[in-house]
Symmetry: D2
Subunit: 312 residues, 4 copies
């Protein structure tokens, strides 16, 4: 296995099957990627209000990729192990953007009201006795460095989808469990899978309520593997102590339904439960949290701890 | 302070301002309540299928109450400390009910499909070296005894609402954090608050996916307090390490929005943040999980850990 | 048959089974009711802004009733023929109310934005060569007098529901086809049915977009009939040339689903189609419009013209 | 002006900016297009059940296009006048497809229930004294020939979107008012606009409830015009007697909100009303119906009759 470093020549703003791969890698290779933040580093200080700083940005959320993974074919599953995420600057950016976020009307949930007042928050990344943390000079609360990948995707089948969107292909899910130590499974629709990633967050609450987490530039280390002839419908996460499924849809209950059905089916396929035992067991011990309530569709995460997957 | 025991003479199937109180208690009294399960104990073995066992039940989810709390007036807040929940039988009931649950069409999300096959699951409550646990003879996975109150409510203002419904008055929220050690705040709409409770669960996953948790009969010990002249819009939970708000609505995103707005406002009122600092901080560190995705409205829980409520 | 006139002694703000009937009538009686407007006539000129004029109103949408219809028993259907609606003043009121309406955030779809600017619109009712019409001095567009009943309901089963809510019991549906010449069918849950009505509108678009139609006080003439042993789940409308069903729910698609399922079942029960023929035929020729997109639940109307109900 | 005939060499299953134009036309040209049905003519008799007949179809809803309209540039509006739709075969197809439709669970609203029983309906197109009509041998109800274009779109900006989806670019809206005599306005995102069309329906009810209308192959005659420097956000329809806007979103209320906001803004821009007068006037006289309740997003149509657009 070799180590491959990807410094993107240009970014993509769609998860697209129509782009030439940035690089080709083999399963098992250590792949080091550099990602820009969701604003392509246009906002760096609190005076940079989004309406001005982003005025020249036709598209947001730049993606590094596509990466062609040798041997991946439609009908396979791509396993993406997230080895590490390292910061490449000493601050994170968050902001309130006009008509974007969870507690404001948006182009999707559209009203005639004025927007909230925009504002940019700079969070400095510092070292402390308990590890790295973020702090903002107004809020003055320490937020630990717990980075994850906001956006990771394969190219869809025939479609090219905005990098602002989550979906069956993964995408802009903003799910904090897509983090170092965990492995993400994505369905493969195209030869080589055509993987994209970006939008790393230094920390994020469930829901990403204002729509903009602690946005960072990052160096991400991944290892890909291909599970041949295994077809999945929606992204899955394998953590050391639990398994998770992600559903992305509107309204939010549709996302919750997708995630739970997928988890029932997974428990049936691989863990020796009937579908109905899975439905019953999830009722009693399943987890379900909101990943994002702000993107083009909402992402919900259903989970079960591994300790409940073994019968006595 | 005295201890008051409430063995209900009859149950209520609505949260109603039109019923005579079962009992009058004083703030600070230790109140011991007995609650039946959601099926009024009509299902006790796995042969008891809901379509037959519940055929004679015009209403479900019997409530103990109302309890009149001396001194509570409209515009106050009722604080309900949950001291303990003890089982009063050695098993819990769960079941699949026709056209009820999170992964089936229902009278609300109504389709022309046949129902799922109904089934009753009996979970025995046993003692183990690590404490009490439930086990079902088919699923054979140990589920720890972690009881909570599925339904607690005050009487609404002028309305009488089905005990199957959650709302601003509390009600059938099915939120696992309504549990011993925590305190629930409810708005008071009527003199005496008129508190109802029932529907205890021995354990439940987030979402209560099939719609029926580990339903138990229970002895519940509560202490009420009245916070005078404090008006809240939706239920709140105070835990030792975090504060939580509950929003109940359809679609689910509306519940998420309510819970988050309420938490922002709470942080503004009591914890020294501006509304906008709260919005920003919740984005980075807030929690949000699904309490129920099966009731007449869905209940979502927004939270923030207390460690994030103190500025450095 | 006799004629009964109902001048309400006091109004109800809930559809409730707990109130004494205003009057008892027989099927076939001509019943003349007087209804106030949704604001109980607190707004009468454009200077009356809602935030002030309604400040003293604890509840809105006053209902005339309940009316006890002799012979109506639970499990029957109440047929309400709307004979006529006559204006009892020479103007209608509409207004923009803070955080109420279809194009603003609300307590249900709750955001942190400021409200739209409130405003009151007075529409004068005038006689013209083509009949009565409304006109507002700013908008200056003639709107024809086409009155209907915004709110008509029976008392629910055990519940008392706010007069602002639509539901299976009818209620605040704001459906323009509840108008003179048509007959409304409502399920009966209580002895005597306990009918309520109010909230007449001089005209209204589909959706009632700002939430406040041309609100009028009115004299409403109705004739009740009881269809014995016929049980329906949701309100139905019989017009000379079509039949309609109303579903009220959130999200709006749930209302659309309910209305369409109910119409399929109606076509199966009474018009000689199989359920699947009805599903197919509605796909090709059914109507579906939005009654209200502003109330506690949204009301959608599914319909089919009678000419399509006869096979060749 | 010349006449251009387009017999597609191959179909597209995405609205894509990445395809070479089938043909280039000038504004004002008469463009005659041939369209296949949504199933690419794989279903032609009632024995052709979708699960078999469509088993080989990786993609559905074939589109004719893209058509490059000379002079259209990003920021312009494309006006598509629908001159006529003529049938090119003597029958239409409808069917019940597993997990597709308005009264069944789907991959979006996903439950564990079995699908409805699939079925294919053939509707013969016949001539009668009152014009062409469809009739099915089981249902035996005459449905008049009132054809429209189910799908018409421009290529989106950077994205390639499935031909099963509606959106700001138009697409699979299934709105019956996209019919001969009316003109559709679409925003232009790419040079030449890159227009696609297909999925003609011989008749359809509002909502397209089972998901499959009277699907026909057709010869469609269009005339394009380009409105320079006019930017619109969502599709608009101009009919002889009314103007309409289409919003497509989930949940359905978001589609209703979009359509109404767009109509308010249109009335403000072009008809001399303030935004608030428009909001008020639409409340009293606007129309709002459901175009589709079955596609990837739901399409709702807001409208106002032209007679209400002139002040007295």
């Amino acid at each position: 296995m070799s180590t491959v470093e990807v410094k993107p020549k240009k970014y993509s703003y769609v998860f697209s099957p129509y782009l030439e791969p940035e690089v080709r890698v083999k399963p098992g290779d250590t792949v080091i990627l550099y990602t820009d933040d969701a604003f392509e580093s246009r906002i760096t200080k609190k005076e940079d209000l989004p309406s001005k700083a982003l005025a020249t940005a036709k598209f947001l959320n730049p993606q590094t990729g596509p990466i062609y993974i040798e041997g991946a074919e439609p009908g396979d599953t791509l396993a993406v192990k997230i080895v590490s995420i390292e910061p490449t600057r000493d601050f994170a950016v968050s902001c309130f953007i006009n008509y974007f976020g969870g507690l404001t009307s948006t182009p999707f949930t559209r009203f005639l009201q004025d927007p909230l007042k925009e504002k940019t928050w700079i969070w400095m990344l510092k070292d402390g006795p308990d590890g790295k943390y973020f702090i903002n000079d107004e809020i003055r609360v320490k937020v630990p460095w717990e980075p994850f990948v906001g956006t990771c995707a394969v190219a869809p089948d025939l479609e090219a989808i905005s990098s602002l969107s989550p979906g069956p292909f993964g995408g802009n899910q903003d799910v904090p469990d897509v983090r170092p130590g965990n492995t993400i499974h994505l369905p493969v629709f195209n030869p080589g899978a055509l993987f994209y990633t970006g939008d790393c967050h230094g920390h994020q609450g469930q829901g990403e309520v204002c729509g903009v987490a602690l946005e960072i530039t990052a160096k991400v280390t991944l290892v890909f593997n291909v599970i041949k002839k295994k077809s999945i419908a929606w992204p899955r996460i394998l953590a050391p102590n639990k398994i998770m499924t992600i559903g992305s849809a509107r309204p939010m209950e549709d996302a919750a339904r997708i995630a739970n059905v997928e988890l029932c089916l997974w428990m049936e396929e691989e863990f020796g439960f009937t579908r109905w035992e899975a439905y019953e067991l999830l009722t009693q011990v399943g987890g379900m949290y909101v990943g994002n309530m702000v993107d083009t569709t909402f992402s919900l995460v259903a989970s079960i701890e591994k300790k409940y997957l073994t019968r006595s």
